[in-house]
């Protein structure tokens, strides 16, 4: 054995103490480790187990196409097309910040986007849905996609995916009806309506796309997959196939819609029209000019485009004048004045009043629009020739009460019609209270006077209404007292057109309108469109379908041209349809709006080769 040179006893008390110290350290360390393990595994095990499960599971959503929209005859109005979207997969992006910036810059050059915007968009989407892919740009053209795919090594983490985009084959036709789709907003996400919608999804933002979004939306498919740490797919855990949204059938007739918008565009280019079934409230056509192409919205709309579509100088193409217009209605209001006067006993259908060409009340003289007088006349004749003085007297006599305002409201003015389109405006029926309040606040120069009621009786002054409201009022008289809520949506169908759910007509209010009064009013309107001296007789001369209709010429003051109105009921004497047309700067009703109404009616009733012509300066 080798002999040691150190011969001192090995286990001195000092050494024993130090070894005990080492043992103590080991003991403490083991205790700490055991407690920590106990805490991690036994006390927090469930939490970590959930974390481990989440770690390996990714949800991949598969976009469901939106439902298509067809007109009442099944003609396609809104469909889908597939586009290519450029997306990024966050795990595969360069980790290095500088290299990521270079990638964004390169992408920005190819996609013509600012790199800052790309980066911000991606981080916003990823905050909302970590681990999923983030969309950089929707609907990228083929060459750009090819460029990116051919240079994958320059675009790490960038992928191209098929997405469904909305297509509106008829472009500006029906744009206000169909509305637009757009990315869901933060506020909407909190709404119950949008349950199941994820950030970045596109939902209806206006028109029926908005109104019936619930049906049109469809259900995105989702597969839950197990992935490894590099994001490689290991296996599918569950798969839910995407389901396309339901098809929506509208009461719209594409031909009438097209004709309406085209004829309106042929006027001054700013106006609106509504065609409605007077018995069911089904809207056959509803349009507003100027219009826009909703295809602009199917990708992400450019801010400059959006500004242009909202610009009042352009006529604010996005606003739907048929439901959002705030117009005085001119003489088309006389139907309401007549109904109010008759139903409240102010006069009867046979009461004769004298029209001497003007009426002076309180020192103010109100003249007939035409200038001359019509002599002694009763209701029918007064409507036929559109005697202002006749209705001035009714307006004067109903001042002090709210009979006129009350009946205007009953007939659907000053309130929303309840049409299944978003953004409808109620308009305004001027009342003494309303004006006096404004006056008190110094927002107007005078309080209410009898003149206001006289103005209202012929639809001038402060009245604000839109074509759809007038259509409802006329339909109410025509159908004997049912105030209908107009509707565009007919039923929800599967893709083959089989009904899934009929959209019930919204409840209508019922008014008591004396059949004798209805008859008198309709006859007066029929006369206007047929008898010699009738305001629109010349316009409808030779038209095969008997039409009853009222012209209107709303004065807008301040040197602006008059607004042209026409509301037609046809066929007389049992009208099925009401057509309300207005052209913001069309001048006399018979001049612009009435011929438009004839064009629309011709399409509506299938009159071939009909040629509408203006009826001269007749109100």
């Amino acid at each position: 054995m080798y002999l040691d040179s150190d011969r001192r006893p090995t286990l001195t008390p000092k050494l024993a103490l130090r070894i005990a110290f080492l043992g103590g350290i080991a003991l403490v360390a083991f205790a700490v480790i055991f407690f920590r393990l106990w805490y991690l595994q036994v006390l927090s095990g469930d939490r970590y187990l959930t974390e481990a499960r989440n770690n390996q599971q990714r949800k991949i959503t598969v976009q469901a196409p939106r439902g298509e929209v067809v007109d009442r005859d099944g003609r396609l109005l809104v469909e889908n097309r597939t586009g290519l979207a450029v997306k990024v997969t966050p795990e595969k992006l360069p980790r290095n910040r500088r290299r990521r910036r270079v990638l964004y810059r390169r992408l920005g050059r190819v996609l013509q986007m600012r790199p800052r915007r790309i980066q911000r968009g991606i981080s916003r989407e990823l905050r909302a849905l970590p681990f999923s892919t983030a969309t950089v740009k929707q609907d990228v053209s083929g060459p750009v996609v090819a460029y990116i795919l051919e240079r994958q090594e320059q675009f790490p983490g960038v992928t191209v995916e098929r997405v469904f985009l909305r297509r509106y084959p008829h472009h500006t036709i029906g744009a206000h009806l169909f509305g637009t789709v757009g990315e869901v907003t933060k506020e909407q996400l909190k709404d119950e309506r949008y349950r199941g919608v994820n950030l970045g999804d596109r939902v209806g933002q206006s028109g029926i796309e908005y109104q019936y979004d619930r049906f049109l939306r469809g259900r995105d498919g989702a597969s839950k997959v197990q992935v490894d740490a590099l994001g490689r797919l290991k296996r599918e855990l569950t798969v839910v196939q995407p389901r396309q949204g339901s098809q929506l059938r509208l009461s719209i007739d594409l031909d009438v819609q097209k004709t309406g918008q085209e004829t309106l565009a042929g006027g001054t280019g700013r106006g609106a029209f509504a065609v409605m079934n007077v018995h069911t409230g089904e809207v056959v056509a509803l349009g507003s000019q100027p219009s826009f192409d909703p295809n602009l919205f199917s990708k992400v709309i450019k801010p400059s485009d959006y500004r242009r579509l909202r610009d009042p100088l352009n006529g604010a193409p996005l606003s739907n004048r048929a439901t959002q217009g705030l117009y005085p209605t001119g003489s088309t209001f006389k139907l309401i004045t007549a109904t109010a006067g008759l139903e409240t006993g102010v006069f009867t259908p046979d009461t004769v009043l004298f029209d001497g060409g003007s009426l002076t009340v309180g020192g103010v003289t109100f003249k007939n629009a035409g200038g001359g007088g019509h002599g002694a006349l009763a209701l029918r004749q007064a409507l036929t020739v559109s005697s202002d003085v006749f209705f001035y007297q009714l307006g004067r006599d109903m001042n002090g009460t709210l009979r006129l305002q009350h009946w205007a409201r009953l007939l659907g003015l000053g309130r929303k019609t309840g049409v299944d389109l978003p953004g409808e405006l109620p308009g305004l029926i001027p009342t003494p209270r309303w004006r006096n309040r404004l006056f008190k606040r110094h927002l107007t120069d005078r309080p209410w006077s009898v003149g206001d009621n006289i103005n209202l009786s012929v639809g001038q002054g402060d009245l604000q209404a839109n074509p759809l409201q007038l259509a409802v009022a006329y339909a109410t008289v025509a159908n004997g007292g049912r105030v209908l809520a107009p509707r565009v949506g007919l039923r929800i169908e599967d893709s083959s057109g089989r009904a899934i759910q009929e959209l019930d007509a919204p409840p209508s209010r019922r008014l008591n309108i004396n059949p004798a009064f209805r008859e008198a009013i309709l006859e007066g309107l029929r006369g206007a469109a047929s008898q010699p001296g009738g305001t629109s007789a010349k316009v409808f001369a030779g038209f095969p379908v008997p039409v009853a209709g009222k012209t209107g010429t709303a004065e807008k003051g301040a040197g602006r041209p008059d607004q042209s109105w026409y509301v037609a009921l046809a066929p007389f004497p049992s009208p099925k349809y009401v057509v309300a047309v207005t052209d913001e700067a069309g001048g006399f009703g018979a001049e612009t709006a009435a011929p438009m109404a004839r064009t629309i009616l011709a399409k509506l009733f299938g009159v071939r080769g009909d040629k509408a012509r203006g009826g001269g300066p007749s109100d």
Partner: protein, 391 residues
């Protein structure tokens, strides 16, 4: 050295003394238990790592284990005291091996840590641990009468610091720290004054501040940025879950999700590669996930057994040299176990310290077995000496 009582005299000691083993069976049990656990854990955890060879790591680890046990047994018959004379040679061999590695080492993920010897990638820093223990013990025994002089302490620390700096440059931060721990432990067992340790502690804190705080400000790179990130990430793992905190978070998730009895085949953290380095540095997390608290406790118990036996052998050593070697080995084992396990459970910074015998790796396994062989030798010779003294 048996005491012969004479051929004619009958052995009167009745009953016959229990034939003492020439090795510590508990230490052997702990070592074999750990290497067996390692092979078993690897068979589940690494099945999908090498495509087409489900048992790649298992075969190799088992072979290292077998060779290691043989080495241990051979070393246990070795008269370790002889090594005291070789201390300078051992030290130079160690430095040479480390320098050689730096010069022509095989690169793995930006680190040069191993020399390719054909059958094994020899990690000089692993072998260096054992060589350093023996060499330092030799130096300290020589100066045992001058232990109170600060010069002794400084010299010993310097002797450890040189190879430590060299392996940190490889870069292998973990081994560097093990070297320092070994030096401190050898001094501690030798009986260096507490005041020296206090001074060393102050120096260590100062150096740490210099490296982590002052150096980056002065633009001097002592540690690579990823090393600093790893060192500090355990203090705030959720700050940057996709980057530095990633490993810690995945490790915690793995261990935590194991629960009381483990997830067995459902151990997705390991199987789906969320857990990095799951066959080497983070193998304890695999144990935690697959076998739960029970499995982790079993492995820790084997380590406890091993450390207890090591401390026991330390008390038995027949001479100071053996005691110092045993102290160094004990410190090496303790340090590696606590730092490695601590890092997987989020109470220690991430440094590349393997879990002795359990982490996959030939150098580490073989060196650990050789260290255990030295412990066995100290044990055997202590028993022999004791018997010689008639105890």
């Amino acid at each position: 050295m048996d005491t012969t009582l004479g051929a004619t005299v009958k052995d009167f000691r009745e009953p016959q003394p229990r034939r003492s083993l020439w090795f510590d069976p508990w230490l052997l049990l702990a070592a074999v238990g750990l290497i067996a656990s390692s092979v078993y854990v690897l068979s589940g955890a690494t099945a999908d790592d090498i495509p087409g060879d489900r048992l790649y790591y298992v075969y190799r680890q088992a072979a290292y284990g077998a060779v290691g046990v043989v080495l241990m047994m051979l070393l246990s018959r070795f008269d370790y005291s002889r090594a005291r004379e070789w201390k300078a040679g051992l030290y130079i061999a160690m430095i040479g091996a480390i320098l050689l590695t730096l010069a022509l080492g095989v690169s793995a993920r930006g680190s040069k840590r191993a020399i390719d010897l054909g059958f094994i990638n020899l990690q000089s820093s692993e072998l260096g641990k054992l060589l350093l223990i023996v060499a330092l013990s030799g130096f300290v025994v020589d100066r045992v009468r001058r232990l109170n002089e600060p010069e002794t302490t400084s010299r010993v620390m310097l002797l450890a610091l040189i190879p430590a700096m060299l392996v940190v440059a490889q870069p292998d931060l973990g081994s560097g720290m093990v070297y320092l721990a070994i030096a401190v432990a050898v001094l501690f067992v030798a009986g260096t004054k507490w005041t020296h340790f206090a001074a060393l502690g102050v120096l260590a804190v100062g150096a740490l501040m210099l490296v982590l705080v002052a150096a980056p400000k002065a633009d001097v790179q002592v540690l690579k940025p990823y090393q600093v990130d790893r060192l500090t990430a355990f203090m705030h793992p959720t700050d940057n879950p996709r980057e530095q905190g990633y490993q810690i978070n995945q490790s915690l998730t793995a261990i935590g999700s194991g629960g009381k009895s483990g997830r067995g085949d459902q151990a997705t953290q390991t199987k789906l590669d969320f857990l990095p380095e799951h066959h080497t540095d983070f193998i304890f997390s695999v144990v935690g996930e697959e076998f739960g608290f029970v499995g982790a406790a079993l492995v820790l118990s084997l380590f406890a057994l091993m450390i207890w036996r090591a401390l026991r052998i330390l008390t038995m050593s027949k001479n100071l040299f053996g005691a110092l070697i045993a102290g160094g080995i004990t410190a090496m084992l303790m340090f590696q176990v606590f730092v490695n396990v601590g890092m997987t459970i989020g109470i220690m910074p991430i440094t590349g310290v393997p879990l002795p015998l359990v982490s996959y790796g030939g150098s580490s396994v073989l060196v650990t077995f050789m260290a255990l062989g030295l412990l066995q030798a100290i044990y055997a010779q202590a028993r022999q000496t004791a018997r010689a003294k008639g105890l």
